[in-house]
């Protein structure tokens, strides 16, 4: 077929050209068919390493777009055009009339390793590929006409932010890749196939069609025309920016863990707020993201909700517009089914937390109701004792405690959550402290989008504070004072009369005076979790707590063999005695919580009154001030 019959155009093909072209054509086109398979043609064209719009142009010019398939004529013309383009000629019919070298086809290197390696590098390298293949998709679509039911909706969000920096754009795309690749090999539309087979293409040198055999092997596996039709209509694959890839999911789960070790528990609103505020998105958008992701509108995020929220944040930062409603792939049910299954490393947690909630919950709640009259100092002492128990047990078995959500609002972290804490939450929500915890949170680096996991997240990294707190010095504690934001200092003066509550609210400030005499007894425990009302001290290892807590209640049996300065308790088997101790501790904690909550509301009330007084005084001042003449 030396003559290409497109529009009566006669193309002279040289001997070598003809040979090469027919080789290529037969590669792309299994003999029984008259036309080349679109995907293999696409691969081949991409291997020419021409920019995608050039390829698009070529397709148009060669007439394949018009006739809807790549017949031999179109194919040959396309090859000629590729050669022309590679030689720097414009893509025109005229240019191929000249004598041209053979088109060169380079294969794209196999990037599976690259992708599994550092994602950053992967993004740098593979940017062209996703973009090219996206273009290819549209290009394919025009070629193949109805042969492909390509999903156009996923295309649009990806193509829509063209102005966004390339670094941003490639992230969701490449994640789409990761997802497509890891997941589902078989039933994909052509876009995935095309990409996949492209990636599979090993690198022949230019002009070396040794990969042809590899390609012919791989393409039948993809079963091009058959599977191209099988698009899973309910799911959208690589093109969907709202689909969370495995990598992303792992990252989100780790972030969740850093905020809340129990993956079955919730992140409270204030915690999540601080976390997401660090992403530097405007509050309005964060608010909208929250609205989208908190599906049950309870003011807290479960793991799937958190993943959805985080994903939305990432997407937004990468330039995507937030959707009006939560995309299907981000729904909690969907995510829960998908992501919580592999996350079964909480075997310990499950075993521990299950017996407790059912037994504890009713009991604890009733107790908290009755405990309102309890002495505050006593409860604070108990609280701290209980905390120590908690911490120790925590350290011992790395299990979570079933501390109710109220308490968790104070600690924010490293406390077990009762699985059915939903009941607790309506109550506890009213107790969720806002300013206290916000003021107490220590500054942390903002979380970055998943592509840069090497970034050491301050939350995840263990601080050397362990060493700092090994010394039982008040100087150390006072050394801690500067880090908390300046909102704290005025407090002690206000709350002198409420010193017991202050002990909880400001363990740092008040513990030094109240515990001077108790330091000796403090050398008993190693604890893991943070001090009760210091949510910021996520990584405060046990010394601080052990050193700062007041005398232990003798009823609490703790392993006194542990030296206080030992930073890490060896993992111990949880004895039933410890369990009981923990349960008592939990009960006490809950009682203390109720008391604290009440105190909190009282303080709020006082604050309001003081505020009113202040306003009144200000108005008086205004009146007394001499009238200024304008």
């Amino acid at each position: 077929a030396a003559a290409a019959g497109t529009g009566g155009l006669l193309l002279p093909l040289s001997e070598t050209e003809q040979q090469r072209y027919s080789e290529l054509f037969s590669r792309c086109c299994p003999p029984p068919e008259a036309a080349a398979g679109g995907s293999s043609v696409g691969e081949l064209f991409r291997a020419s390493q021409l920019p995608p719009d050039t390829l698009h142009q070529i397709t148009e010019v060669c007439g394949a777009k018009r006739v809807g398939y790549f017949g031999p004529a179109q194919f040959y013309i396309a090859l000629k055009l590729i050669a022309a383009a590679q030689s720097g000629f414009p893509v025109r019919i005229e240019s191929i009339k000249n004598e041209l070298p053979l088109p060169r086809f380079m294969a794209l290197k196999n990037d599976t390793e690259v992708r599994y390696g550092t994602p950053a590098e992967f993004h740098g390298v593979k940017f062209q590929v996703p973009h090219a293949t996206l273009e290819k998709n549209s290009f394919k679509r025009t070629d193949e006409g109805d042969k492909q039911d390509h999903k156009s909706p996923p295309m649009s969000p990806i193509c829509s932010p063209p102005a966004s920096p390339s670094t941003y754009q490639r992230i969701p795309l490449s994640y789409g890749y990761g997802k497509a690749r890891t997941g589902l090999e078989q039933q994909h539309g052509a876009p995935y196939e095309v990409r996949h087979s492209t990636h599979q293409q090993d690198g022949p040198s230019s002009g070396n069609y040794g990969a042809k055999s590899a390609l012919t092997c791989s393409t039948p596996n993809r079963s091009l025309s058959v599977e191209r039709e099988q698009q899973d209509s309910s799911t959208q694959y690589s093109d969907d920016p709202w689909r969370i890839t495995e990598e992303q999911r792992d990252y989100y789960v780790n972030q969740f863990r850093s905020l809340q070790p129990d993956l079955n528990a919730f992140i409270s609103g204030s915690v999540a707020k601080n976390f997401f505020t660090k992403s530097k998105l405007p509050i309005l958008e964060l608010s909208h993201i929250w609205e989208l992701s908190d599906v049950d509108c309870d003011g807290a995020l479960t793991l799937p909700e958190f993943c959805a929220a985080f994903h939305l944040v990432v997407a937004r930062k990468n330039g995507y517009q937030l959707p009006e409603t939560l995309p299907e792939t981000l729904l909690p049910e969907y995510l829960q089914a998908a992501c919580l299954k592999p996350i079964r490393d909480c075997a310990l947690f499950d075993s521990y937390s299950e017996p407790l909630p059912s037994s504890q919950q009713a009991r604890d709640f009733s107790r908290t109701e009755k405990s309102s009259a309890e002495e505050v100092p006593d409860s604070s002492a108990l609280l701290q004792d209980g905390k120590k128990d908690d911490q120790q047990a925590l350290k011992a078995s790395t299990t979570l405690k079933t501390i109710p959500k109220e308490f968790q609002h104070l600690t924010v972290k490293a406390a077990a959550q009762e699985p059915n804490a939903l009941r607790a939450r309506p109550r506890s929500r009213s107790y969720s402290s806002t300013s206290i915890e916000d003021a107490m949170k220590k500054g942390e680096e903002p979380p970055t989008p998943p592509p840069r996991p090497q970034k050491s997240h301050s939350r995840a990294s263990s601080l050397d504070l362990n060493k700092i707190f090994q010394q039982n010095t008040q100087a150390v504690r006072s050394g801690w004072l500067p880090p908390p934001p300046p909102a704290l200092p005025p407090r002690p003066s206000v709350s002198q009369t409420e010193q017991p509550s202050e002990v909880e609210l400001h363990p740092q400030m008040n513990r030094p005076p109240s515990q001077a005499e108790e330091n000796s007894s403090a050398k008993k425990e190693v604890v893991l979790a943070q001090p009760p009302s210091k949510p910021a001290r996520r990584k405060l290892r046990t010394e601080a707590q052990g050193l700062e807590t007041p005398e232990l209640s003798p009823t609490i049996n703790v392993t006194s063999t542990l030296p206080a300065v030992k930073p890490h308790l060896p993992v111990q088997k949880q004895s039933s005695k410890q369990k009981r101790a923990i349960q008592t501790a939990i009960r006490k904690n809950k009682e203390a919580n109720a008391v604290l909550a009440r105190l909190n509301s009282e303080l709020q009330q006082q604050l309001k009154e003081v505020h009113k007084e202040r306003i009144a005084l200000e108005t008086q001042l205004e009146q007394l001030r001499p009238v200024t003449v304008l």
Binding site: L286, S287, W290, G299, E324
Partner: protein, 139 residues
């Protein structure tokens, strides 16, 4: 189908006000503002002792020749005011109550959002959608 829906904070400033687009929306704002007095009157009439049993739905506050104004107050003294076209007799009183209840639920959902500071203007899209569904469809 309301003509205007407003959410008023405890301190009597509007958190959210949305009316059917007409040539004189300010009229609705004024109506809402004047109805606040009636609201205050009603809630103070109950007395402190009855705070717990106070009905949240206040009913018809204020009829004009064109409009009726209905009120609803929450336990935190956030007021919902709805202006309804008098000519629209399709609505019954209990439907007003249910509409207010929906408003109240949406409002609590907004409250759950940690990024929402109480006292801010309400800028939630979900709330907007819900309110739009309750507004009269003016073609």
């Amino acid at each position: 189908m309301a003509v205007c829906i407003a959410v008023i904070a405890k301190e009597n400033y509007p958190l959210y006000i949305r009316s059917v687009p007409t040539e004189n929306e300010l009229k609705f704002h004024y109506t809402v503002h004047t109805s606040l007095d009636v609201v205050d009157e009603k809630i103070s009439a109950m007395g402190k002792a009855l705070v717990d049993q106070r009905e949240l739905y206040l009913g018809l506050l204020y009829p004009t020749e064109d409009y009726k104004v209905y009120g609803y107050v929450t336990n935190s003294k956030v007021k919902f005011v709805m202006v309804v076209d008098s000519s629209n007799t399709a609505l019954r009183d209990n439907s007003h109550s249910s509409m207010f209840r929906k408003l109240h639920n949406s409002y609590t959902d907004i409250m759950c959002n940690p990024f929402y500071n109480p006292g801010d203007r309400i800028q939630s899209r979900a709330f907007d959608t819900m309110v739009n569904s309750m507004m009269m469809q003016v073609c």
